[in-house]
């Protein structure tokens, strides 16, 4: 039985993690909840049957009461909290985005390996059938790429317990929505475990110009060994609706559309006719909806801990390149 603590009991825990964890109760037991708001921590502890609840100052004292931690705080706190947990020998599942600086990503991955603890990141969209299908399609030869488009936007109206989305430099749409969309791109292209993958930015417009920006539109190119250099446009926004998909345009005129939302398959468009690219036959996970993908995340975390395994698709070492790209976008336009 894995004893799990939750650090940060905000909207994503209330709406997602807390809904799926009870279904894993034979393998994972929540034993403690922590939040800046201790009342909120206690409420979550009651909901999940945890005996301990408290604020940040209680975490270090309580470490003997849990084996692993879900870190669901605003992104600015991911690195220092994960660092301390790894030093204490605890396994960590960090909510996305992993961290906000590539140097922190590399440091934490190395630290976790030295400490022999598991470090995973909650990029649950990797479990979507459509995303798995797209990755398998590209891995099987797919199509040589001519151009990449990354789009995702909606007016921000989802609940957030803290104001970090509008106040923290790490709370902008790039680290938030952009981390989802770009991760789908890198995972689809099989570049998630290629730390050399980089994004060269030619133009970038942000609204507001300084982080946390709420709308980012950039033109550039994605480079990686074997991929070469492919032109890319990206537009992510909290200000209004955009298409929500990664689009890969082949040199042969075909296009692969990978939806941002949960879907049963990806879509290959040939001569304007859409065709479904289904989930591969050997897929381990086939979550029927987005909530089930959160469940997959916790199944993977439990499995990685139980088996001492670093092969998970959400192992933190797979997010170093993404972190570097997100950092480059956030830093673009910032005076040196």
């Amino acid at each position: 039985m894995i004893r799990l603590c939750i650090i940060g009991c905000g909207a994503v825990v209330e709406g997602s993690h807390a809904r799926v964890l009870p279904a894993l109760s034979e393998r994972v037991r929540v034993t403690a909840c922590y939040d800046l708001d201790v009342v909120r921590a206690r409420a979550m502890a009651r909901r999940l049957g945890a005996k301990r609840a408290g604020g940040p100052a209680d975490i270090a004292n309580d470490v003997a009461h849990w084996d692993a931690a879900l870190v669901a705080t605003p992104p600015a706190h991911h690195a220092p909290i994960a660092r301390d947990l790894i030093a204490a020998g605890r396994h960590v599942l960090v909510e996305k985005p992993f961290v906000t600086a590539a140097a922190d990503a590399r440091e934490l991955v190395d630290a976790a390996e030295r400490a022999d603890v598991r470090l995973l990141v909650g990029h649950f969209r990797r479990f979507y059938p459509s995303v798995q299908a797209a990755r398998a399609f590209m891995a099987s030869g797919g199509m040589p790429l001519a151009r990449i488009e990354v789009w995702e936007g909606a007016r921000f109206d989802w609940p957030a317990r803290s104001s970090y989305a509008f106040t923290s430099p790490d709370g902008g749409v790039g680290f938030d929505t952009g981390s989802h969309a770009l991760d789908t791109l890198l995972f689809t292209l099989g570049l998630d475990d290629a730390p050399e993958a980089t994004l060269e930015i030619e133009t970038c417009e942000k609204t507001p110009p300084r982080e946390p920006s709420q709308d980012v539109g950039l033109r550039g190119s994605l480079s990686a060994p074997l991929l070469g250099r492919v032109p890319l446009i990206l537009h992510v926004s909290r200000l209004g609706p955009l298409a929500t998909a990664v689009k890969l345009h082949g040199a042969d005129g075909r296009s692969l559309v990978v939806p941002a939302a949960h879907a049963a398959g990806a879509t290959l468009v040939r001569d304007a006719v859409p065709h479904m690219v289904p989930l591969p036959a050997d897929a381990t996970y086939s979550p029927p909806d987005a909530m089930s993908a959160f469940y997959c995340e916790h199944v993977e975390f439990a499995r990685a801990i139980e088996q001492g395994d670093r092969s998970s698709v959400i192992d933190a070492r797979r997010f170093v390149a993404l972190t570097g790209i997100l950092e480059a976008i956030a830093q673009h336009g910032v005076p040196a």
């Binding site: 809904r19 009870p22 936007g153 398959g265 006719v273 029927p288 909806d289």
Partner: protein, 346 residues
């Protein structure tokens, strides 16, 4: 005075009313609403408008609230609207509702009066609750009232009936039932705000004249969903797909496990509320033409409806914008928002 001034219809309404020369006040929890020409007032400052000729317009609706909490959130919003009417001494309240108060699947033509009780969907129930609550308040206080039930809202960026259709076309998901069935029952946002403007400026009591308290606005009942989807499909560059069968509303509320392709389970099945969990299945091999799934049956129920939403409007009003003009605006909007297969930054 507008509740919901920053929403989709709200932004168009603000422009419309400023264009008509009215002073527009947006009610906000804080007074920091950054919109030129619009004053923001917090709820506790509304009495400063007393003595002015005020019409309160409610476009707001609780958003991003879990289904079980919608009623309480709705009641809190309605209380703010009622207080605004009383604090300002408003002569008239214009409240926007929806044709969905009659349900998503109609078996008979919706009536002009109070909607029958339709249970089982928190959105429908909360919209009807709002109509009833504001009507009861109006009867007690005696101010004028118009409750405008809107059809499916259409326009550049309208969610979900334009963005959802566009996204489905791009992804190769069926847009609607077989082409030729399913009335659009739509209303263009520019016509909506023109009508709301007409209601705001109307001389005489709306509640006592024709069509009475309840107004029905869906000027595009005749076109089917293909009339919207096909021009969008031509712009997007992906063929629109339609599904042949239409699920009934009885199945629309169920969460379905992936159907006949299930072979065996990778994990024991468990339920957390309405959440269905991991299972393994063997999908058919190779790429094939997209087969409609049982996903989001509610969408297909609405888009298959073949009963026209009957109009109930001021005799003097005609929609200023036609269907083709609306389509042009929508299709011009699509590329810069990424909905075309090959899109670029604006």
């Amino acid at each position: 005075m507008i509740f919901g001034a920053t929403g989709y219809v709200g932004e168009y309404l603000v422009d419309e009313l400023l264009g008509r020369g009215h002073e527009v006040v947006a009610v906000a929890r804080s007074a920091a609403l950054p919109r030129e020409g619009v004053r923001a007032l917090a709820d506790d400052r509304l009495d400063t408008l007393r003595g002015r000729d005020v019409v309160v317009v409610n476009l707001a609706y609780p958003r991003a609230v879990p289904g079980l909490e919608i009623r309480a959130a709705n009641e809190r919003l309605l209380e703010r609207v009622r207080r605004a009417v009383e604090a300002t001494g408003a002569s008239r309240l214009v409240h926007t509702s929806t044709q969905a108060v009659f349900g998503y699947e109609w078996r008979e033509v919706p009536t002009r009066g109070a909607a029958p009780l339709v249970l089982g969907d928190s959105y429908i129930e909360s919209k009807r609750h709002a109509e009833d609550a504001l009507r009861r308040h109006q009867r007690r206080r005696g101010h004028d009232i118009a409750i405008v039930r809107l059809g499916n809202i259409l326009g550049a960026g309208a969610m979900p009936w334009v963005t959802g259709v566009a996204q489905r076309i791009l992804e190769g998901r069926p847009v609607a039932a077989r082409a030729g069935r399913g009335r659009l029952n739509g209303t263009f946002v520019r016509n909506i705000v023109d009508y709301l403007g007409a209601l705001i400026e109307h001389e005489g009591r709306l509640a006592d004249g024709a069509p009475g308290v309840f107004h029905h606005l869906a000027e595009f009942t005749q076109p089917d969903w293909a009339a919207l989807a096909e021009p969008m499909s031509n712009t997007i560059g992906v063929r629109a797909l339609y599904r042949e069968d239409v699920p009934s509303a009885a199945r629309a509320g169920l969460k379905t496990i992936i159907g006949s392709a299930v072979r065996r389970f990778a994990e024991p099945l468990a339920r957390t509320g309405a959440v269905t969990l991991v299972q393994r299945f063997r999908p058919p091999p190779a790429v094939h033409a997209f087969a409609p799934t049982a996903e989001d049956p509610g969408w297909y129920v609405v888009t298959a409806g073949d009963i026209a939403f009957p109009p109930a409007l001021l005799d003097s009003w005609q929609p200023p914008h036609g269907f083709d003009a609306m389509l042009r605006e929508i299709c011009e909007w699509l590329p810069a928002r990424g909905y075309t297969l090959h899109a670029d930054l604006a």
